[in-house]
Amino acid sequence: MGKDKLRIRKIKSVKGKTPSVKTFKVYDPPSTGADPGQFVMVWVPGSGEIPLAISGADENIVDLTIKRRGSTTEDLHDLKVGDKLGIRGPYGNGFSIPERPSLLVAGGYGIAPLRYFHQKYADQVRIHVLAGASTGDELLYVDELEPSAVTTEDGSRGHEGTVLHPFKEIIRDEKIENIYASGPEKMINSVFEICREKGLHLEASLERIMKCGVGICGSCLIDGFRVCQDGPVVDLEQLEEFEEFGVWERSFSGRRQEI
């Protein structure tokens, strides 16, 4: 059974990070050995089950950084210390271990797996961070990660616009060849185009609807690629081969719809 068996865990702490994001600390030893980029499937009893990136790990405690979006994340946000969650995983692959100066490009709650990356590798290599959000108070982990630049869509903090602007600047000014990106697919797609043009190494974490997490249900496919098992981290070469990436995603029925 191993990591696939559902484990019932109590929430150790809940911290509001932004108006729409909370970080939950949960006792779950199997998750704390995960590679940054891997995710867990989280069952909210009576509500649903969703994939969530591991955003940090410490002793036997794992961090989940969760944006309130729809029914399940709302129910999650209502949970208190001591309430129970089901966890299985960790699933999927992780980012490669950085060996040179690296740049993390994060959009929205996409910063979650990159925060774990930073936590794990910041003492090994120089890590630059760019973080974007819709508004200033939605920016995540700014104090901890000290981004080189932050951006907001409404201009309430940092540059107005997306992370693409500071991204172009930083790769022009600094000697950084390794890019790790996580965020909305449109953002990843733009970062990908630029990396391809400039010949930079890119790894990105993708999202799809994940109903099983173990590679059989087919809900998370991009072409024939199972994001849950073969991903969620992909590199530039893989992105080049995908036909659906950046263009199509799948609804709950499997019907394709434009991104």
Partner: protein, 306 residues
Amino acid sequence: MIVMVEDKSLEIELAGLQLANPLILASGIIGTTPGGLARVTREGAGGVTTKSLGPETREGHPAPNVVKVKAGYLNAMGLPNPGVEEFTRELGEVNLGATVFGSIFAHDSGEFRQVARVMQTKADALELNLSCPHAESLGAAIGARPTLVEEIVSAVVRDVDIPVFAKLTPNVSEITEIGKAAESAGADGVVAINTLPGMAIDVETKRPILGNSSGGLSGPAIHPVAVKSVYDLYEALTIPIIGVGGVESGEDLVEIMLAGANAVQIGTAIADRGMSVFQELNSYFSNYLESHQITIPELVGKAHDH
């Protein structure tokens, strides 16, 4: 890079279809999209079965949709699918190297015909899902009643020009009765078995885990049931049998063929063994045939000799 086992001894003929090897992807596994089917083709399957397609878009059951149990998985996907029209449209855009079994489900024989007509434009064969145990009023209700099975199979067979397989549920007291109904209605073959009805309840929160409460049991747990079903069907029928249920090792594969399966579907094994399971089983099988000095036609049903 995938190294293909290219071995003529693995080729089979199944109800007039030519397959490079007897391994077929089971319905509902990865085959939700044509891209998924193409991937499994590249991994070495001789045939691929689509997710079961119905007349309309269905989102399926609420999550959790899958839960691991000791000897397999319970799933309650709830037949999510984009609808047969949309699916075949997409299927037309890709070129698959393997035989495509188009799985379909519907509420009654009229609707089955309708879905079948659309599916046959893009599939090499049809698989009628008479057996999904967890979509209320669909599936199992039909597959447990010989008269309904007969009605649906004849309606579809009359209407389409490609081979038609009836997929059977093990959740009946005599699977051969259902198999016989399908055969006499003109089915070109049967597929056995679908999942068994099952449930998992969490003892901490004291509630059923699946969003749909109960689901279908697949994987190693059901393998002996599949072997017995195939064995019994082989005695009762003359049409080909596709065996399915908990096949994850080369021994499992040979075992179900000895029971009488002409071809074998692989489903849940992909969770634990990965996509390479097709290559690995083919290569085991190829060695087995060689070392036992036996051909596939000789092997199929051989357990009945004793």
